[in-house]
């Protein structure tokens, strides 16, 4: 191997590290978990300047199913990240191949975030699904989406056979309401931190239209993306092929999620609801809204080994597997 600083000893318990450079400009590094036998590979796919960061979790044996994890965006991206990693590792240990990725312009990926649109987000997911197909052959590939990531997950799973399930974590069904909440959170942050740049919610909404983007809690929200999100309807994206859908919400399902579930059920989808109790809030968690003073800590509290979102999802997938031979958990 020869990489400085890497101990090639088998006692490390890892098969470190392979680096592949192919004509498709895919670069990846791999590790094997000796406990579960699953293989994790991180890499980039796509042309230079537009490369998408991807992280796969493949079982040591042949995968019986696949799951594409479509990440949350903006502030939710960091807040939800570790849950997605936990779920991926748990599923890989149960013979499910999982792929995670960062949209272009976010995370470790290349590209310009200001150019983001719902179409481009869906293209990113399609690129990863192609890669999954090469690895996983013909198994059904389900999708998981969180918050506004549900649009991408729905578009991705719509092209899959009916056995492929869809999991939605706290889906954002109403993009206008999402922006309202975001502007309110930004306004409260400005008030509490006495920010130098402290426009009101309505001023921010105006600025979004006039300048093409706004600073939302330290993230750039492009106007074009927001307009896209308002224009698309989740049930339409999901298509007409009935499939199993799990909707997980923090606390009792809000009205828009209930309406979404009812609409899908009316079209023949098998919809299940799960609610979880966590102390977090998507907009107002301790990391996001530190109180100035001695109780202000620089780091978020440790995350439990398995979050409730992961637990209920694993349980549902296990039940699904028992009923229909789909994705196993």
């Amino acid at each position: 191997m020869g990489a400085p600083g890497i101990d090639p000893s088998p006692s490390v318990g890892l098969l470190l590290t392979t680096l592949r450079v192919t004509l498709e400009a895919t670069i990846s590094a791999e590790v094997r978990d000796p406990r579960t036998g699953s293989i994790e590979a991180a890499g980039y796919v796509g042309p230079a300047g537009q490369r998408i960061f991807t992280y796969s979790h493949l079982p040591g044996s042949t995968a019986r199913a696949g799951l594409l994890v479509c990440p949350a965006l903006l502030r939710d991206f960091l807040g939800n990240y570790r849950r997605e990693v936990e779920l991926a590792r748990a599923l890989a240990a149960r013979e499910v191949g999982v792929y995670r990725f960062h949209h272009r312009g976010t995370g470790h990926s290349e590209g310009e975030w200001l150019d983001a649109s719902v179409d481009r987000l869906c293209q990113d997911a399609t690129t990863i699904v192609h890669q999954m197909r090469e690895q996983l052959a013909d198994v059904p590939i389900g999708a998981l989406g969180t918050r506004v990531g549900v649009f991408v997950a729905a578009a991705s799973v719509a092209r899959q056979p009916p056995e492929a399930p869809l999991v939605l974590w706290d889906p954002v069904v109403d993009a206008k309401g999402y922006l309202r909440q975001a502007l309110r959170a930004q306004g409260i942050k400005n008030l509490r931190q006495k920010s130098r740049h402290a426009p009101s919610g309505s001023e921010l909404a105006r600025a979004l239209v006039e300048t093409g983007s706004i600073d939302l809690l330290g993230y750039l929200l492009p106007h074009s993306l927001h307009e896209d999100m308002i224009a698309v309807e989740l049930p339409e994206i999901l298509g007409d092929t009935p499939r199993s859908v799990l909707i997980v919400t923090k606390g009792p399902a809000p009205r828009d999620a209930s309406v979404l579930g009812a609409e899908l059920e009316a079209r023949g989808f098998d919809v299940a609801f799960e609610s979880v109790e966590t102390g977090d809030s998507w907009w107002f968690d301790p990391e996001l809204m530190p109180v100035v003073g001695t109780e202000d800590t620089p780091a978020a509290p440790a995350i439990p080994v398995l979050s409730p979102y992961v637990e209920v999802t694993l349980r549902w997938l296990r039940r699904l597997d028992g009923e229909a031979g789909g994705v196993s958990a």
Binding site: G13, T17, S28, A42, Y81, Q193, A300, A302
Partner: protein, 318 residues
């Protein structure tokens, strides 16, 4: 495969650590390498090392354009690394993690020396690890925790308003309010007044043993800086005026141990700066840009081995 394949741009890597590994991303320069590696040690949160709004990713790419190799990594239990994230503990800094990442970076054939950027707790981790790090040419710490709890804020929070007002009306303080730094002092006064009023009903100053003279910050932090400076490592300390430890930092820089370090080693070797707002968590894009500019400028000075100039875009201190 090796890390010496000479691939430009970002490459995912796995850094061995005590029988497991940490995930990281190595950014290689597209231009000629200046043979300096930059290790970014983020605060110990569960978030991935790309940072808020991909701040670290974009910083790494900008530094790459200037010839640096940049490694960012996830602590165990954070981002894409396996394991469970430990609770932040001032008494148990994540030293082994920083040492492992530093040694990995220094092991690259294109890297002769390393500078570390430590954000919040990451800065403290790096400082605690520094005695084990070879070829450390620079250490930048943004909003590091100087003590387990911000001491001066504790004192102020627990001091009756009447006493605070008496201190603020002393002539030496009045002169400051009228001087060139009056805006910053005014912000401090307003903030402290607010905190004190919030707590006046429930707390008394004697609870913390305050006898009219501010305590210094924990001596350990600044003592750790001394051997680094004697070894000619450059240090940069940046705070936001709304950061938790800003008041401690300001006091130290004015007349405490930090002031002594600056006096003895010079402003080029110990550079300090502050920005209006809150650098912890970086919840404003404007602040992200200011911080990026300051770090790139400071590292540029190290890269060019110049004697340094004022950190652009950042005030010289409180």
């Amino acid at each position: 495969m090796t890390n010496e394949a000479g691939i430009e741009g970002d490459t995912p890597v796995f850094i061995p650590l005590s029988g497991s590994h940490m995930f990281g991303v190595l950014s290689r320069p597209r231009t000629a390498s200046n043979r300096i590696g930059v290790l970014v040690a983020s605060g110990a949160t569960a978030a991935p090392c790309c940072g808020r709004n991909s701040f670290v990713t974009s910083l790494a790419r900008e530094l790459c354009d200037n010839g640096f190799h940049v490694l960012r990594f996830d602590y165990p239990g954070a981002g894409d690394s396996p394991g469970i994230l430990s609770e932040p503990d001032f008494a148990k800094p994540l030293v082994e993690e920083v040492v492992a990442a530093h040694n990995w970076l220094l092991g690259l054939t294109e890297v002769d020396e390393v500078a570390i950027i430590g954000q919040c707790g990451g800065g403290f981790n790096a400082l605690c690890a520094s005695h084990r790090l070879e070829q450390l040419c620079g250490l930048a710490m943004t909003s590091p925790p100087l003590t387990p709890e911000p001491k001066r804020e504790s004192i102020v929070r627990n001091t009756p308003v009447k006493e605070l007002a008496g201190r603020w009306l002393q002539w030496k303080n009045v002169r400051r309010y009228l001087g060139p730094e009056r805006k910053r002092y005014a912000q401090l006064v307003v903030r402290r007044l607010r905190m004190s009023m919030e707590n006046r009903a429930s707390r008394v100053s004697s609870a913390l043993g305050w006898h009219g003279k501010p305590e210094s910050s924990d001596s350990d932090f600044f003592e750790r800086m001394e051997p680094l400076l004697e070894g000619e490592t450059r240090i940069l300390m940046l705070f936001g005026t709304q950061d938790a430890w800003y008041a401690d930092f300001a006091a130290e820089l004015e007349s405490g141990r930090l002031a002594g370090l600056v006096r003895r080693h010079g402003k080029d070797q110990v550079r300090t700066g502050s920005v209006d707002g809150r650098l912890q968590n970086l919840t404003e894009i404007a602040l992200q840009n200011e911080l990026r500019e300051a770090l790139v400028s400071w590292l540029g000075d190290i890269g060019s081995t110049s004697d340094g100039s004022d950190t652009s875009g950042v005030g010289a201190g409180p």
